[in-house]
């Protein structure tokens, strides 16, 4: 008994000593991000960066799954143990307000960094109260991919440019009938049920909104918004789209690349998945802009940027990292590997070049008529609306009822926040 404890104690000491590690003078900085699909490519940039700054700076990636990314980021910022550099999106408002991210203006001026090399909209997205909080990395658009093999098999014409929502319905109905005849199990239409790659697009296309421009009113209870969601429910009811039960368990993209879907509404962040899929490699994926609903096929535009933590112990070194990974060289590498559309304009040519199996120009073109992801940086109200949409889509309650109720609850919270 005693021997065991002694053994255990010795083990402990050895482990502790090993765990203590060596002290070095190299500045260790970390970059935190989600999306494991992108990390190997970004790691390449990091490796180059480390090579260049050997002995002085050593950067590494801390990969956190999307589900827990924000929770962890918050926790780490509170503890001042945060990563030095972090991926940031529309949630920036919250972090800027709490002053846990450091504005980059000083560094930009000191190094005379030319911001016009980036898409203006993406630079502005990270500019609050005149302060530049992040350098843009990429751009997201939403479009439609179709499986040529399925279209050919059932003898349906490929979707044509300029097609409308009604065109899509007609095509899907034809496909549905032919599939049934042949005893197949595919779905004409599939999509992911998150806001960015699906319903936010339709709501805005139809004239509604998720949150108003001034960020104080939600338009999800408006007739136009209700109609957009109702369209989706109709698709499911008429068996033109996979049912909610299937879509809420298996992502639309996964269904599509496993040959279960005729067309999929998809975001550009999944482009490399399409490229490397079996169907893609057989040259059977076609891309096209979304069908226009009520005259519009505007895509939600998103994108990520790199922020600097206000409590970073090596802010200067972290800035060097940010500068490098948003440089033309680094973003071109991302483009040529198809993991993200660069916000850096020159690097964009790498994007189309990269895709052998997809007509990537379509993805870039969607940005022309797009609108930025609607958010007011606050998230106390969003779950009421998001839950209402899920309720509506799953038909646990009628569409209009759910949305109107959800919007009202959300508005109540918004009113409290903005004291109106």
């Amino acid at each position: 008994m005693k021997k065991m404890m002694l053994f255990g104690a010795v083990c402990t000491l050895i482990l502790l000593a090993a765990g203590c590690g060596k002290q070095n003078k190299v500045a260790n900085i970390s970059l935190t991000m989600w999306d494991e699909a992108q990390s190997p490519i970004i790691q390449q940039s990091i490796d180059k960066f480390n090579e260049e700054h050997k002995g002085k700076i050593a950067a590494n990636i801390e990969l956190v799954p999307w589900d827990t990314y924000w929770t962890k980021l918050d926790a780490s910022l509170e503890t001042k143990e945060a990563a030095d550099v972090m991926w940031m999106n529309v949630y920036l408002t919250k972090y800027a307000a709490a002053e846990v991210v450091k504005p980059l203006d000083e560094y930009i001026q000191k190094d005379k960094l030319d911001l016009s090399q980036y898409i203006e909209g993406r630079v502005n997205a990270y500019n609050l109260d005149g302060k530049q909080y992040a350098l843009p990395k990429g751009l997201d658009t939403v479009f439609v991919a179709y499986n040529k093999e399925i279209f050919d098999r059932y003898g349906i014409e490929y979707p044509k440019e300029g097609w409308t929502w009604d065109d899509m319905r007609t095509m899907a109905a034809e496909m549905r009938d032919k599939i049934k005849e042949a005893g197949g199990k595919e779905y004409p239409i599939v999509m992911e049920l998150d806001d960015q790659p699906s319903w936010m697009n339709f709501v805005v296309q139809n004239g509604g909104n998720y949150i108003s421009e001034d960020g104080k009113t939600t338009g999800m209870g408006m007739d136009q918004s209700v109609e957009a969601i109702q369209n989706m429910v109709d698709l499911m009811n008429e068996e033109l789209m996979a049912p909610y039960t299937v879509l809420s368990e298996t992502k639309g993209t996964d269904l599509f690349i496993s040959g279960q879907g005729g067309i999929v509404f998809i975001g550009s962040w999944k482009a490399s998945v399409l490229e490397n899929s079996t169907i893609g490699m057989n040259g059977n994926i076609g891309l096209i802009q979304m069908p226009s609903l009520n005259g519009s096929n505007s895509s939600v535009l998103g994108g990520l940027g790199y922020c600097l933590s206000a409590t970073s112990k090596h802010p200067d070194e972290a800035w060097e990292l940010i500068k490098y990974i948003t440089s033309e060289e680094s973003l071109y590498n991302e483009a040529i590997n198809g993991i993200d559309i660069p916000a850096q304009i020159k690097a964009q040519e790498g994007y189309v070049k990269n895709f052998k199996n997809l007509n990537a120009q379509v993805i870039l073109d969607a940005a022309v008529t797009g609108f930025p992801y609607q958010s007011n940086g606050n998230f106390e109200w969003t779950s009421y609306v998001n839950d209402a949409v899920q309720k509506a889509l799953s038909q646990s309650a009628p569409v209009k009822e759910s949305l109107v109720e959800g919007a009202a609850q959300a508005q109540a919270v918004l009113d409290k926040i903005y004291n109106q």
């Binding site: 402990t12 494991e36 799954p65 926790a75 780490s76």
Partner: protein, 276 residues
């Protein structure tokens, strides 16, 4: 006659036991089968039971994606330190409650029992804030510390101590032994089974604990196996053959250890239960 007896008595029992075993083990077999298929094979409709060729490559992929060695080390390290610390702290306190008389002993013990009934969520937010203030979030220490003070352990060990006849203490006292010596040299060795149970309980708990590690720690490299596995689900649940491979890697060692030491395991768990 013998055959009749077999059919009537033994066979039904075997059938039942086989049925139960299949229900309990079957899913794990499916886990393994899934892990050796290709992606297309896993999503084939209708379900394809066996892969055409065994895809060990899935294990390679997952092993590279996730630092399993680190996760195992973390889990092992946390378990070991927790066990050692807990054995000392808990058994010492249990000895005192069982053998030593001091004012307020019973009240303190009852309060402790009361505290034991409080569900863990009550403590999470304040403990998290505490870790933040002490600046030890994202460390293994944060995983170890709260686990050391196991009230149920004190309760159980006290039962064990109480079952040892007091004459031993008295004899030792007369011989001039101090209380600590009595505890360390005489009584503790006699409660070995209790300590083993405690150790097994700690191991199972650390192994299974999910919420606390994912809240207080951030990097994959500071996770225990459970939390790390949960992170495996993350954004890309698509490739179940990889997810299952990861699950197999996490589950297999424990199953093997269990198969070898099952007698001790079962005895340990049972004892903890019976003493309650």
């Amino acid at each position: 006659m013998k055959i009749k007896k077999f059919m009537k008595e033994t066979l039904p029992v075997h059938i039942m036991l086989i049925l139960f075993s299949v229900i309990m083990v079957g899913p794990f077999l499916w886990m393994f089968l899934t892990s050796i298929k290709t992606y297309e094979e896993t999503i084939r409709i209708p379900v394809q039971f066996f892969p055409k060729a065994v895809q060990w490559v899935n294990y390679q992929i997952v092993y590279h994606k996730f630092p399993f060695l680190t996760l195992y080390f973390n889990t092992f390290f946390v378990t070991l330190i927790t066990i050692i610390a807990q054995l000392l702290v808990v058994s010492l306190a249990a000895y005192a409650f069982s053998r030593l008389d001091f004012p307020g002993r019973n009240i303190i013990f009852l309060l402790m029992l009361g505290l034991m009934m409080v569900p863990g969520q009550i403590f999470i937010i304040p403990r998290f804030q505490l870790m933040v203030q002490l600046n030890i979030t994202n460390t293994l220490t944060a995983l170890i510390l709260p686990g050391i003070f196991n009230i149920f352990g004190v309760f159980m060990m006290r039962q064990f101590f109480s079952s040892i006849p007091k004459e031993l203490d008295e004899a030792a006292l007369i011989d001039g032994c101090g209380y600590f010596v009595i505890y360390w040299k005489i009584l503790l060795p006699l409660t070995k089974p209790g300590l083993v149970s405690l150790g097994i309980m700690v191991m199972l708990n650390t192994w299974k604990e999910l919420m606390w590690p994912i809240i207080v720690n951030r990097s994959m490299h500071k996770m225990t196996l459970s939390a790390g596995l949960a992170m495996l689900i993350g954004e890309h649940t698509t490739y179940y053959e990889q997810v299952m491979a990861g699950a197999v890697i996490s589950v297999l060692p424990m199953i093997i250890i269990f198969a070898i030491f099952q007698k001790q395991f079962v005895a340990g768990i049972a004892r903890a239960g019976l003493k309650g």
